[in-house]
């Protein structure tokens, strides 16, 4: 297997912390593994829904949420491995184009949770190209912390369905573990929207 040389140096925790600070109103869904730890490390809040499983489902879940809450910015923060498992969802999102949905793929090119094996993103797949091919309107690649402000403006503006492939450093950081009681996380998320438990 030919592995692309990766030179990404961006700190994922710092990136997510800056993004969350700039998008205080967003409803957020995080993909399992490191993105859920990154989101929790940036500050727990009821409008965060942390996935601990359901791999491949983060973007599709964000789509459902974005369609249900068109007046709110919906932000999906996931990793390259999780998104690779749900590539079809990008086509479904491309067909719907909800203006209030932004997907941020923290791409370290590796399956971090299972021992840092190289992912397809290191082996030739361009997630940004896939997203463009699916018709997602605003696709960007980010490799500098300075780009957070522009991305946050996109999230907050709700003017175009967006996907950002964010190149981050492949490293194992200390885990920051969000609550893993799904019922609790679901109920407090709905309560924050003024919705009953069911």
């Amino acid at each position: 297997m030919k592995q692309h040389i990766r030179t990404a140096s961006m700190d994922r925790r710092e990136f997510v912390a800056r993004l969350m600070a700039a998008c205080p109103q967003a409803l957020v869904i995080s993909g399992l593994g490191s993105p859920s730890y990154d989101l929790f490390a940036a500050g727990d809040r009821p409008e965060n829904f942390y996935l601990w499983g359901a791999m491949g489902g983060a973007a599709a879940m964000g789509l459902g949420l974005a369609l249900a809450q068109p007046q709110r910015s919906v932000l999906v923060i996931t990793g390259d491995g999780e998104q690779l498992m749900g590539l079809g969802a990008l086509a479904t999102i491309g067909a719907q184009q909800p203006n209030n949905l932004s997907i941020v793929v923290l791409d370290n090119g590796h399956f971090g949770e299972t021992g840092m094996q190289a992912s397809h993103s290191s082996l030739g797949t361009s997630l940004a190209a896939v997203a463009r091919g699916c018709g997602i309107r605003q696709v960007t690649e980010i490799s500098e912390l300075g780009a957070t402000a522009v991305l946050a403006a996109t999230v907050n503006a709700r003017q175009a369905c967006a996907l950002a492939q964010v190149h981050v450093r492949a490293e194992e950081l200390p885990r920051a573990l969000p609550p893993r009681d799904g019922v609790h996380v679901k109920n407090r998320f709905r309560a924050a929207l003024g919705l009953p438990t069911f």
Partner: protein, 151 residues
């Protein structure tokens, strides 16, 4: 309402849903996650698929069990009645068992005049009681697929 392409639909079955916004999926497990996201945001939905798609959903159904999301799926059966294509049979046989193994309550309908009432019962169980429910629509309700004609 989230739907896989090729799933036959009966208009009568959807009368309880006042306003439907159909959304087409590439694979069934996407629909499980999308239904959960919609409900997280306060919207009800139902996932329509064929029995062969149930196998694609298995791990994604852990989202429903873990978070106790209300869930309704309507499934048209293949591989169980006058089937022509043997490739439909293994998953057709495993459909109900797979759903039940993942904690989904299964309601089955084989008579046309019981479809609407069973779907209503599924809707109530899902959204009044917060239960995950699958309504299996027997292949006999759909009839024989015509293999010698353009669909």
């Amino acid at each position: 309402m989230f739907r896989m392409p090729g799933t036959p639909m009966s208009s009568g079955a959807f009368m309880p849903i006042r306003r439907c916004a159909p959304l087409v999926l590439t694979t069934e497990e996407e629909g499980v996650a999308t239904c959960c996201g919609a409900w997280l945001g306060g919207q009800r939905s139902a996932l329509l698929m064929q029995s062969s798609g149930v196998g694609n959903c298995t791990n994604m159904l852990s989202l429903i069990q873990n978070c106790r999301f209300p869930f309704l799926t309507l499934i048209t059966m293949r591989g169980e009645w006058a089937e022509f294509n043997p490739w439909q049979t293994p998953m057709g046989r495993a459909t109900q068992g797979s759903l039940e193994l993942m904690g989904i309550t299964v309601l089955r309908v084989s008579k046309a005049d019981e479809v609407a009432e069973t779907v209503r019962a599924g809707l109530d169980a899902a959204f009044e009681s917060g239960e995950p429910v699958a309504v299996l629509l027997s292949q006999s309700l759909i009839g024989r697929k015509k293999w010698n004609q353009t669909q």
